[in-house]
Amino acid sequence: MMDKPFAITLDVGSSLANKTGAWRTKRPQYVDRLPPCNHACPAGENIQGWLFHAESGDYEAAWRVLTEDNPLPAIMGRVCYHPCATKCNRGELDEAVGINSVERFLGDEAIRRGWKLTPPKAESGKKVLVVGAGPSGLSAAYQLRRLGHEVTIMEAGPFAGGMMRFGIPKYRLPRDVLDAEVQRILDLGVKLELNAKVERIEETMKARGFDAAFLAVGAHIGKRAYIPAGEAARILDAVSVLRDMEGEAKPMLGRRVVVYGGGNTALDVARTAKRLGATDAIIVYRRTREKMPAHESELQEALEEGVLIKWLSTIKSVSGEATLTVEKMKLDEKGFPQPTGETETLEADSLVLALGQDVDLGLLEGVAGLEIKDGVVQVGPNMMTGRAGLFAGGDMVPSERTVTVGVGHGKKAARHIDAWLRGAAYAALPKHEVASFDKLNTWYYADAPKTVRPQLELARRTSTFDEVVQGLDETTALFEARRCLSCGNCFECDNCYGVCPDNAVIKLGPGKRFEFNLDYCKGCGVCETECPCGAIKMVPEET
């Protein structure tokens, strides 16, 4: 110990006695904000949550978080139109994160490695009927089973999958993938009865002693439009064409096929026709490309495959063997198509109508208290119909008709059914404010373009039903996952810990995040400005 000259030479670190926290007028707080991807997901997936695990290469953990909300990642990774990506903040930076492709990678990985879903902890002793083995039904069955209920799915068709099987062509969703994910749900102990059409729901429930039922029969009846036509004219509807694709006898469409409509189904049929050997597959749509409900990516692929589209056209009549009269339309100022009187003729071996689908509500006849509107069943915010204990979801209720929405309905309904069975009401947790782009400091993220999913060369694609879009391999999936900005939630980047001029941030260690040391924090706010993901918020000191 040296004898230090008074006042001139001081012992180190003694300024800890000076609590500069007293200078503060604002204080920083750690917050969690809702990532826009999670916010946008119809299936309510905790996307950022499972990406977090994927980033560190723990794919099983990622898959387990993912399947909390969605038992069908391999399917969703193929057929979802990923609204998550549309809302992804990264889109404003370079390109949205390929969430959907990582999801598919996880789904495929799970199948490849044979990961099993977590079985229920305890049996509830309640019996629930699920009508329809489509995405919504499967999702509901899965969630209900995990909550310990005894679940039976009654499916009218010969296979499980519903529209995933009868509406989506193989080249978009290989059937082995579908089968694998369905089987995994059944492995949890869900009973599946095929070719078991429910004629009268209430009778079935009473007869078999179900405590509740979830209806998800989908919409399988192709809409017809009145078109004057000769006897010889070959006119089919899209749903049947696609359904027949699953059977032995493939539909006979001829060399020149005209499809009428502008939805995804219309595109599926046209692309299917191409694969069945049609030289011409022409879509006739009464509005413009901008107005087309079909998904852009599918339209793009269809065009690449040589599908032709006549915009602003309606079919007036079908004369003789195969001559269609098409009338040109024009949009009025409201954007509605109006006839112009101009017509032209079009040669076609067959005309396929893809004008949307209706729901078969037969099983609901005589059920009291139901409200049916526009051909679909009305449900409350808890997915319950007018009849207590009878819930419904998917295409048969008012909503966008996608697999993802279906899965979301299934999950939501399951939670409410579970609550209802316990005589309670399910209340979802209050949502955090959304982590919008302006909350981020994106300088800290490396600029990295999205990994483009390799595609099969067009030639092979149009001649076979091989899957068009290929998946990511592990490295690219990892790369993609790591493009996530972790919007609104701390990812332990240590920025606050590093940038504080007063060392007023305490690092608690991996997974434990951080804590502010208010003894020394002067409230400068640098940590808030420099937090990349917007997980810090300055709030005024209470006076």
């Binding site: 110990m1 040296m2 004898d3 230090k4 000259p5 008074f6 006042a7 001139i8 030479t9 001081l10 012992d11 180190v12």
Partner: protein, 417 residues
């Protein structure tokens, strides 16, 4: 070992014998030969474990010494005149931080007018910088004082300035007794710093000190110098014991017992004064002299004791407090407070003006007759001064005084002095 050598070289040898670890060198006449000599010793390996740094200014010289000393090694530098003023800020800092640096000042005047010759204006200008100031009377004493200086500095954690008259001592060849390394090692232990910058035991040196503690810090540095009043003679006694000769201490008296007139002076001029004292004593005059070695701390008590019985004191100083008169005289007067005797201040030897026996004899005889003014400028050329004053009265734009005077006295005064 006895040697006939130059003052600067004798000092260089003394420094080398004191085993310095860092030496900072920046040239300025007349101290240059000292650092040149040391540079040679470091280069030829005779001075080992020593870093010799050629710096870019006196300010840097003292700063490097500060860093070295704070890092726990024995640091030395030398300067003169303008150089001392240029490092003045660092001079204060070294003492403020309590760093035992030893510095030689080869005393020299300060310009303008620029003048390279000897007087005490330089060291006097930093007399209150918190350094101990020792003035050497001979080259032997200069040599001895440096060895003592390190011991004093390191014991008290206070820097020491050893002042020796430029040219008169630094350039004079005379006999000196140079001690052996063993003798010096026995007298001067290795440097054990009181505070040190050491990663193993970190401290912060040089804190900002506010009104709440600054007075106390200053009091402590004053107190440190008061302790030096006891310690300096102690070291001098040890030195005498070890080396068998008297050197240093606070003051030295010469034939002051029963003296009516006592002359007080600093540095080499004491030799000439003693010659004059002897002559006058032979003529029965009661005169003596006192040589002040330690000017800081100022030895009030011992000086009072040496002077109290005299009738008059003549303070002969090689510096001028412009607008006041003497600098040393002030201290002497303070030492005599309450004692009534006639005090005279004589300003002599400014800018290298030779101080001769003749002038001193005349001066002291006038003093004995109490015919001196309060302040006397020895050998002042009154013709020149009055002429210059006349000229100034005459015109508004007078031009530089120094040049005017040189024009009047002609350039070469036969080179003497």
């Amino acid at each position: 070992m006895l040697k006939q050598t130059e003052g600067s070289h004798a000092v260089a040898e003394a420094i080398a014998l004191s085993r310095p670890q860092v030496i900072c060198a920046y040239p300025i006449t007349p101290q240059t030969h000292i650092v040149e000599g040391l540079g040679e010793m470091v280069k030829d390996g005779s001075l080992k474990d020593c870093e010799y740094i050629n710096v870019e200014s006196e300010f840097a010289a003292m700063s490097v010494a500060i860093g070295a000393s704070a890092a726990g090694v024995r640091a030395y530098t030398a300067t003169s005149s303008q150089g001392l003023l240029f490092m003045a800020e660092a001079v204060y800092n070294a003492s403020g931080l309590g760093l035992p640096i030893v510095m030689t000042v080869g005393n020299r005047a300060i310009g303008a007018p620029i003048n390279i010759w000897n007087d005490h204006s330089d060291s006097m200008s930093v007399r209150d910088a918190g350094w101990i100031q020792l003035y050497a009377e001979t080259n032997q004493e200069a040599l001895d004082l440096h060895i003592q200086a390190f011991r004093i500095a390191e014991e008290l954690a206070c820097p020491v300035m050893v002042c020796m008259d430029g040219f008169i001592l630094t350039h004079a060849y005379e006999r000196v007794d140079v001690p052996t390394q063993e003798e010096v090692d026995a007298f001067l232990p290795p440097y054990v710093p009181r505070q040190i910058l050491d990663p193993a035991d970190p401290v912060s040196m040089g804190a900002l000190v506010g009104p709440e503690a600054f007075t106390e810090v200053r009091y402590l540095s004053h107190h440190k110098q008061l302790r030096a009043l006891d310690f300096i003679p102690e070291v001098a006694r040890d030195f005498t014991r070890a080396f068998g000769r008297d050197s240093g201490g606070l003051i030295r008296t010469y034939r002051t017992e029963d003296a009516d007139t006592i002359v007080v002076a600093l540095g080499s001029v004491n030799g000439t004064i003693q010659e004059v004292v002897d002559e006058m004593r032979e003529r029965g005059r009661k005169i003596g002299s006192v040589s002040i070695c330690s000017f800081r701390p100022f030895p009030l008590a011992v000086l009072r004791e040496a002077l109290r019985h005299a009738r008059r004191v003549v303070v002969l100083e090689k510096c001028l407090a412009v607008g006041l008169g003497g600098i040393v005289s002030d201290g002497v007067r303070k030492s005599l407070s309450g004692i009534h005797l006639n005090g005279y201040t004589v300003i002599a030897g400014l800018g290298g003006r030779a101080i001769t026996r003749a002038s001193l004899t005349k001066l002291f005889e006038e003093a004995e007759r109490d015919e001196l003014d309060q302040v006397t400028f020895l050998d002042l050329n009154t013709d020149i001064v009055s002429h210059e004053l006349e000229r100034e009265r005459g015109q508004r734009r007078t031009g530089p005084t120094a040049e005017a005077i040189l024009r009047r006295i002609g350039t070469v005064a036969s080179g003497i002095g």
